[in-house]
Amino acid sequence: MKTKTSAAKLTLKQTLSLLKSGELSLNELYQDVDEAVEISNKKLNIYLTLADDARKRADKALKDKTPWLGVPIAVKDNICTKDLRTTASSTVLENFVPQFDATVSKRLKEAGGVVYGKTNLDAWAHGSSTETSQFGRTLNPRNPEHLPGGSSGGSAAAVAADMCIAAIGTETAGSIRQPAAWCGVVGLKPTYGRVSRFGIAAMASSTDSPGPLTKTTEDATIVLYHLSGRDPLEATTGQQEVPDFTKALEKGVKGLRVGYLYHDIEGLEKVNPYIEAALRVLEDMGAEVESAKAMDPHHAISVYTIVQRGEVSSNLARYDGIRYGHGRDMFGDEAKRRIMLGTYTLSKGYADQYYNTAQKVRTLFRKDFQRLFERYDILVSATSPGYAKKVGATEGSAMFGELEDMLLEPSSITGLPGISIPCYRDPNTNLFLGMNIVAPMWREDLVIQTAHAYEMHTEWNSWRNNK
């Protein structure tokens, strides 16, 4: 089968199968991806840096019969890539070329994936729009008057724009799932500790979780498998065995107990009907759906804001102007705000009032989820309160991201795995809504199982539609 459409539009699964059978050559694949980048990257500002040795590496990966056969992967620019500039979208690291690979980069390369380029993000991953990037915002490929979300906005956009076959992002509180929802792609945030943070510019170390942004749930499953597992270089990675997640794909949702969360939160009136339609689909397939009452996610904003700022103020201290060529005056406003707030909340006399209290509330959230998971296998909510916002929406709104990510923050601060999959497309704007599916710790299989079943029975995944 010679694809009439661009090979760049293929899913990872399709690409691998065509490369394997020889029906697709790396030349065709790279030509099409290169073409997509050439046409739109300047306008959309998705890639900050392109690897000039990608093609060469792809050949080697194919020749070595690696699992991924040299497919081009987009990597968020806060993930260190050996010999390839890594900036975290901050001018502080404008000229930083790492001498080492993050574990994620290393595992990606070992699987035969090729780092095609480094994608834009909110500087230091601080934000939910890419508007805090010091190299300019990224535009949403689905509708360039709108933002892609963030902080992994560049990676989500690279997938949506077919500028890669799959992408890697990082999430601290919504940074994978929210841009996935806004760009109409799949974003999977693994359990905290499932994927190593080694070599990723730390934002909030206690919540940072790298994970895939892909065209389909199946693709996310393939990527996740290769990134996961204990890393001797990273002490918070779990000892848990990495299961073959693909086994979960065909399980279906029959008998699955689903709790529907956060529908009574103010501001969700517009998205609720679409989430409820999605839940009916699950119900039709045999799931048992029930409305569930959880702790108010507004508290999660407070917890997250305090813990994250505290950790940020410490994590960014290493960029002290001595070793990276640029001083701290190069930090953007958002980073400066977070450093100041975090320094304050960790200060003597205030730590008890803020940081320590936040940690206690975090434990309450953990207990609340434990309670919920006694009754439900998975929990479902909207990913974001609405569609992708217009360009410039964050101006003058320092808490923009926190409000955007409110529905995701409870699961982020508790380390739970979650996925966002497209569950509606507005035909007028071409913008998407996402459904967020959350499972207990280490149970990515449950979110995969549910997301895949839904995806196969609905029309909202644009790649599934194409096939």
Binding site: N78, I79, C80, T86, A88, L93, F96, P98, Q99, F100, A102, S196, R197, F198, G199, I200, A201, A202, A204, S205, S206, P232, L233, E234, A235, T236, G310, E311, S313, S314, L316, A317, R318, D320, I322, R323, T343, L346, S347, K348, A351, Y355
Partner: protein, 444 residues
């Protein structure tokens, strides 16, 4: 000076020692900063503070810290954790030091000194910093940074303010170092900075119970003798200020061994705010009771135990015993010699005295039979008949009534004089120890 006796010393010490684990505290880099072929050889993304360099705790370093705690009779916290101590300094690449704040591995121990016990408040584990080098490159004054030492495991041992004299401070430091060396967990080399001393000094009125309201910290002292000198110097300085109605400034001072004086480094008006918080990169450490048992079982015989064993088994005076077990190696060598001496009926105490006072030349590792032969050659004594000995003693006493009176008034030192006189009187190689025993009996 004139007023020192009106005050009593209140002093606590903080001692840092670099553990000699194979690798660094939180990464796999070689831990050998003093023998690195060039600056910045033993470095990696973790100890250089690169983006995403995540720490993994060195288990051996944790075990060794706990071993020291057990050796000092500390309570061990079965739940412990690492915290970030946030501050800026160019030798600290991450902008924070990984240390332990409120739950150190070890608390509440003690080190015995001849001037009384020094209680240990805590022992915690942290990482060392890099090293700054102020130099000139191409005519320009610059500061270079060597990160070979960055991330080397460092233990900090903090005492209660139990030290009462400068000499006790010195003795405490020596004893601690000896124990550390016995455990074989650190070289504790002072000159290279493998062990660093810090004394917190204040004076309280001799007669009142109240505690002083100030504290002066003297930092980075690199010998036990200097600690003694620095404390002595500070005591005089404080006494002068206090007797003049003032209060010494709360500050950090350095020690200049060339002038023999301390000097002001920085004022400490308020406690610094390090914004401690649990390091989210490192899961808390939970120790099992069995693991503690195992570490306890691995403890070697410690210096104090050896001294008392020598005393009970061989009747060796502790003052000699203490000087003969400065290292584990030396102690086991001495053990062999004492055993050989006992077989030959030689007094271990006389032998110990001869070695300590360098009456015979020996070095660690000499074969016991060679040592005994040397001892014989130097001290072959003739058995003196008891009545001959008594006669000689009587003669000496008769000739020196003043000395006898002195002794009876409590001056024990006179005994040495008597021993010499008696041996001379006998005119042959009498065993000094036997003479001493006879003299003591006669003087009763």
């Amino acid at each position: 000076m004139k007023n020192t006796h009106d005050y009593r010393l209140i002093c606590g010490m903080e001692i840092h020692a670099e553990l000699k684990t194979k690798s660094k505290m939180f990464c796999g880099c070689k831990n050998d900063p003093f023998h690195a072929p060039a600056p910045n050889t033993y470095t990696c993304p973790v100890c250089l503070g690169m983006p995403g360099g995540t720490p993994v705790a060195n288990k051996t370093a944790v075990d060794w810290t706990i071993k020291l705690g057990l050796a000092l009779g500390c309570k061990i916290n079965l739940f412990s954790k690492f915290d970030r101590k946030n501050y800026f300094y160019p030798d600290l690449p991450k902008g924070y030091q990984i240390s332990q704040y409120d739950i150190p591995f070890c608390v509440d121990g003690v080190v015995q000194t001849s001037e009384g016990p020094v209680r240990i408040r805590r022992i915690h584990l942290e990482e060392d910093t890099g090293k700054l080098l102020h130099t000139t490159v191409a005519g320009e004054k610059v500061t270079l940074i060597d990160f070979n030492r960055s991330g080397v495991p460092l233990i900090e041992i903090v005492t209660e303010p139990d030290i009462r004299t400068p000499s006790q401070a010195k003795e405490y430091g020596r004893k601690l170092r000896q124990i550390i060396r016995y455990l074989d967990i650190a070289d504790a080399d002072m000159e290279q900075g493998g062990m660093r001393l810090e004394a917190n000094i204040s004076l309280a009125p001799a007669k009142a119970d109240e505690l002083p309201k100030y504290k002066v910290e003297v930092k980075n002292i690199n010998s036990f003798r200097f600690v003694e000198q620095a404390i002595t110097y500070e005591m005089k300085r404080h006494a002068e200020i206090l007797s003049g109605g003032g209060t010494p400034e709360q500050e950090t001072r350095g020690w200049n061994p060339n002038t023999g004086k301390t000097f002001s480094q920085r004022a400490k008006e308020e406690a610094e705010d390090y914004r401690y918080f649990p390091d989210p990169d490192l899961p808390p450490i939970r120790l099992k009771k069995q693991a503690l048992q195992r570490l306890k079982a691995e403890l070697p015989e410690l210096p104090d135990m050896i001294v008392s064993r020598w005393h009970t088994t061989y009747q060796v005076e502790p003052r000699f015993g203490e000087l003969l077990n400065t290292t584990r190696e030396q102690a086991s060598w001495i053990d062999e010699i004492f055993l050989a001496a006992a077989k030959e009926g030689i007094s271990a105490n006389s032998l110990a005295s001869a070695i300590v006072n360098r009456k015979i030349k020996t070095q660690v590792g000499d074969k016991p039979k060679d040592v005994l032969a040397t001892y014989y050659a130097a001290f072959a004594t003739e058995k003196i008949d008891a009545s001959e000995l008594d006669r000689a003693i009587e003669k000496v006493f008769a000739a020196n009534p003043d000395a006898v009176a002195k002794y009876k008034a409590g001056d024990q030192k006179v005994i040495g004089f008597f021993i010499g006189q008696v041996i001379r009187e006998i005119g042959r190689k009498a065993d000094a120890n036997e003479v001493r025993q006879a003299l003591i009996a006669a003087l009763k």
